[in-house]
């Protein structure tokens, strides 16, 4: 087990390095003079000089990268000039909210996606299958930012069951129950697309597995259909669905950008949108790097789960 994790971690290192190079190159790729582009209206001569020193813009690119990455590894992502705070502080503050939202959405999507996929496969061509297929189709086609608005209009305005925005109530909020209450609508909205994708792939994987010889063997042993489907078929299908769940983690982390904007959830996504509008490139850089790196770790976890489930992959 530890050997597997160590092996996967080692394999993830080149990916993380490549990722950091791409994120680093964001600055170099900005058209025009980076310092003035980054600082924009904050471009006092004093700030420009400070930023040039920070980024080492007078050095060669590889030198700049080494200086930048050693800073990053020590938690120094530079400074947000718009907010006048260290980038790392802002990003970490925001990232926990995003993790909560994305994690909740991914859990919802996994549970309902797997369930819907299994029911759909078992009742293939039946009414349940057709209904689920239609709902899934709608789910993967609906713009999540639009669905969020509809849910707000219905659940927050019309029946006033859940709050429309924020993560905590303004007065007397902050407890776990309060956060959960605020989490419901954004998490559900964010989960919709991923649920649809997971349901579709689970259905296909189940149908594929149910045709295998070992399922015939399970039936020939005289096992109940329940055991055949939920143990023999599902476990085999799960092996091919897990990487999909890992990929969905990426879509959920990215899709959080819309949901955080719609529900004013104080996460990295909403922060990135603001930072881009204000050309606060260093903040964008830090946010992208942290989210992307966490996505690599998500996939690594999915990979390890898959290997544990299917010992043939060792």
């Amino acid at each position: 087990m530890t050997a597997i994790i160590a092996k996967r971690l080692l394999a993830a290192i080149p990916v993380l390095v490549g990722l950091s190079v791409i994120v680093f190159l964001m600055i170099a790729l900005i058209p025009g003079d980076p310092a003035t582009a980054i600082l924009g209206s904050y471009a006092t001569p004093e700030n420009v000089a400070r930023l040039n020193a920070d980024l080492g813009l007078d050095k060669t690119l590889p030198q700049q990268y080494l200086a930048w990455i050693s800073g990053v590894l020590q938690g120094d992502f530079g400074r947000s000039y718009a907010l006048n705070r260290p980038v790392i502080d802002i990003v970490l503050e925001r990232f926990s909210a995003t993790l909560l939202l994305a994690g909740a959405a991914l859990i919802l999507a996994t549970i309902f996606g797997l369930l819907a996929g299994i029911v759909s496969a078992v009742r293939q061509f039946g009414l349940a299958d057709k209904t689920i297929t239609l709902v899934v189709l709608i789910g993967i086609s609906v713009p999540s930012f639009w669905l969020g608005l509809i849910l707000i209009l219905f659940f927050a305005v019309r029946i006033q069951l859940f709050p429309a925005s924020g993560m905590v109530a303004i007065y007397g909020g902050g407890g776990p129950r309060d956060i959960l209450h605020h989490l419901v609508l954004p998490a559900v909205t964010l989960a919709v697309v991923a649920t649809g994708v997971i349901a579709r792939l689970t259905r296909t994987a189940m149908l594929e597995v149910l045709r295998q010889d070992y399922i015939r063997t399970a039936r020939a042993k005289g096992l109940s259909e329940r055991r055949v489907i939920y143990r023999h078929a599902f476990m085999a299908a799960l092996v091919s669905v897990i990487p999909v769940i890992g990929i969905q983690a990426g879509f959920v982390l990215g899709g959080a950008v819309y949901i955080e904007t719609v529900f004013q959830w104080p996460g990295v996504g909403a922060m990135l949108v603001n930072a881009i509008s204000q050309r606060d490139i260093l903040l964008v850089q830090g946010g992208v790097l942290v989210v992307a790196a966490s996505y690599v770790l998500f996939n690594l976890a999915a990979d390890v789960c898959q290997t544990l489930l299917d010992p043939r992959l060792k």
């Binding site: 293939q124 189709l137 086609s141 209009l153 042993k221 096992l223 085999a236 904007t261 509008s277």
Partner: protein, 650 residues
């Protein structure tokens, strides 16, 4: 009245005839109702958007502060007006125009760039391929939208920059898919031929490979266009795409959000439009995939059910089931029904096995022997399999009549199976011990530890060394011979009276084959179990079976005692099959398989199905039904011109 009735009867028949011909791709797409609906919706939207300049619409940018936030269906503004008094309908159509244009442009850019990368990487191979694919992997290591955000952050907000961002983010999907196909194509003969004829790599890619990867590009496009339209709208919604006064559907939605509580329709209407566009594209995409994926077309992805379907109005033979026989199958007919085609895989099969007896069921692949065997316990996949007639007598009980519960009780209990390839037939993820325990506990009410002891005993019984340690082994960790022993142990777990063994030694090498055969023979004698042994190999039959039934094109053509059949068969087909068996010390013996092919079981000729391959066939062989008749000794055969003792084929 009578003529009307015949007319309506004739029509569906004509319709069925048409359907049996292979329809064109487009016809299939239109036939798929959902895809057709998608085409219609998208067609209407695109046509309206294209016609925007000539439609009698209000100026989308003409503000009118006095008439702001007009509700739906107000005069002159069917969809109302927005916060600046602009006509929502006009803005919707013009916005859709922008969104469609941006989405499709991004798709075309992604398709061209991605496909080019895929083609070059796949064709060049080696280092070029490695470097390019590493870069693509890097891009894919980013969460989807995040990379687009980073690109917009570099280029600055704006519709064209959003377009580039979405296009770049989608490049990897095309690059990966196209590369996969190109690698396969680059090694094909026609590409080698083009290379030898002196064509340069660019020309080969363009004229030989590109036409073959085009379907893949189309499929990838059809699955990604929807996303790209959605995501460009999303960037505009966030304020990073279209900037005022320019508007697409996303920015309309984003602006409308500011007055969400007072005038919700202003943001809901453009959202609905995005949804309709994306859904219609997804419907078309699903349709295209279904049409281009041949597995879905033949219905092979259909899920096999618990038990083979049994026709309620099936033909039942009048004769009674032999109460004394372990197995007495009469006139069993199993069909595969695909569309309007009916394949008679088992076309009226009779089999009898006495208690403790071993019957060999022999035939070429495709003769229907496995289907016959799998029909007994309802294990023929259904759809498309159907038991269309006959009796399946097991100790006097007709299993075709038995309820599902009874079948489950018998499966793995009184009737067990050993299948051909134990790597495919054992569950790959569970230790073999668990699979054995499961088999035991499906039929015996005992605790887990007791079942584990029994399982170990069974592994020892099939002569697996060190059974306690093997219990924890996964199937792929065992050798082929050991795996098949595990299967046999599983078949013996609940003291069966009948073992159905479907080519249990075919996947094994010769020495292991002999060991497994001997083991099966010993065990069935010890336990007095009847065996139905399916094989295509007469050599195997002579080792273990007391009686043999030879099958051809879904019917038994000869049956009798093994020694008599092996010595002097009466049916020419049996003779030819026996002649295929290699014999030690007779190297000049012909080893070629029976020449020719069996007739397709959906178009069986009248008379003897073997006539076309038979050197003794005469005119009377090609008409009427030829019955299975007693010939000499214990032999019965379905032949009008049987071989006489001592007579050879030629």
């Amino acid at each position: 009245m009578t003529t009307a009735a015949t007319n309506t009867e004739a029509q569906p028949h004509a319709g069925r005839k048409q359907r049996s011909e292979r329809p064109s791709t487009l016809a299939l797409l239109v036939n798929n109702r959902l895809a057709a609906a998608g085409l219609v919706i998208l067609g209407v939207i695109v046509a309206t958007a294209l016609a925007a300049p000539i439609l009698p619409l209000a100026d989308p940018n003409a503000t009118n502060p006095a008439g702001r936030l007009a509700p739906l269906f107000s005069e002159g503004h069917i969809l109302g007006t927005d916060a600046l008094g602009r006509d929502t309908l006009s803005r919707l159509i013009w916005g859709a125009r922008v969104s469609l244009a941006v989405g499709f442009s991004a798709s075309v850019i992604a398709a061209v760039v991605g496909s080019a990368i895929g083609l070059v990487a796949g064709y060049a191979g080696g280092r070029t391929d490695q470097v390019m694919m590493r870069l693509i992997d890097m891009l894919m290591a980013f969460p989807y939208i995040l990379l687009a955000l980073a690109i917009v952050a570099i280029l600055g907000p704006g519709l064209i920059n959003a377009l580039y961002a979405i296009a770049i983010v989608n490049v990897p999907f095309f690059a990966r898919n196209i590369r996969g196909i190109t690698i396969g194509l680059a090694r094909r003969e026609f590409v080698d031929a083009a290379r030898l004829s002196g064509k340069g790599p660019l020309r080969i890619l363009g004229s030989d490979i590109l036409p073959n990867v085009l379907p893949t590009i189309v499929i990838t496009l059809s699955t990604t266009v929807g996303w790209m339209i959605l995501e460009t709208a999303g960037l505009s919604f966030l304020g990073l795409g279209a900037q005022p006064p320019q508007a697409d559907l996303g920015s309309m939605l984003g602006e409308g959000r500011k007055v969400l509580f007072t005038a919700p329709t202003i943001s809901l209407v453009p959202g609905l439009m995005i949804f309709l566009i994306v859904m219609s594209i997804n419907l078309i995409g699903d349709g295209i995939r279904d049409v281009l994926d041949p597995r879905l077309r033949s219905g092979a992805l259909a899920r096999p059910s618990f038990r083979t379907a049994i026709l309620p109005d099936r033909a039942r033979p009048a004769s009674m089931i032999d109460q004394a026989a372990t197995l007495d199958v009469k006139n069993l007919e199993t069909q595969f029904r695909m569309g309007s085609e009916v394949y008679r895989a088992a076309g009226g099969v009779d089999l009898r096995i006495a208690r403790g007896e071993c019957l060999g069921l022999v035939g070429e692949s495709g003769s229907g022997k496995s289907v016959t065997a799998m029909s007994l316990m309802g294990l023929v996949p259904s759809p498309p399999g159907v038991i269309a007639g006959g009796l399946i007598g097991f100790k006097g009980e007709d299993l075709a009549e038995a309820p599902d519960k009874r079948i489950r009780e018998l499966r793995g209990g009184a009737v067990s199976h050993v299948f051909q390839d134990p790597l495919a037939t054992l569950h790959p993820l569970f230790p073999v011990g668990d699979q054995l325990v499961e088999a035991i506990r499906a039929h015996q009410r005992i605790g887990r530890s007791e079942a584990e002891t029994k399982a170990e005993d069974l592994l020892a019984l099939v002569r697996i060394p060190n059974p306690a340690a093997r219990m924890k082994a996964l199937p792929h960790e065992l050798s082929g011979g050991l795996r098949q022993r595990v299967s046999i142990a599983m078949a013996l777990a609940n003291d069966p009276e009948l073992i159905i063994a479907d080519e249990p030694t075919t996947a094994l090498d010769v020495t292991v084959q002999a060991q497994v055969l001997r083991l099966m023979d010993d065990l069935r004698r010890e336990r007095d179990a009847a065996v139905l042994f399916i094989t295509h190999d007469f050599g195997v039959v002579s080792e273990i079976c007391e009686r043999v039934a030879v099958m051809y094109a879904g019917r038994i053509v000869e049956t009798g005692r093994t020694d008599e059949i092996l010595k002097e068969p009466t049916h020419p087909y049996t003779r030819m099959l026996i002649d295929c068996v290699p014999v030690m010390g007779e190297p000049e013996r012909r080893l070629d398989a029976v020449p020719g092919r069996p007739p397709p079981v959906n178009r069986l000729p009248p008379g003897c199905a073997f006539a076309d391959r038979c050197p003794r066939a005469q005119a009377d062989c090609r008409s009427g039904d030829i019955p299975l008749e007693a010939k000499r000794g214990s032999l019965e055969a379905r032949c009008l011109h049987p071989l006489q003792p001592g007579e050879s084929l030629t």
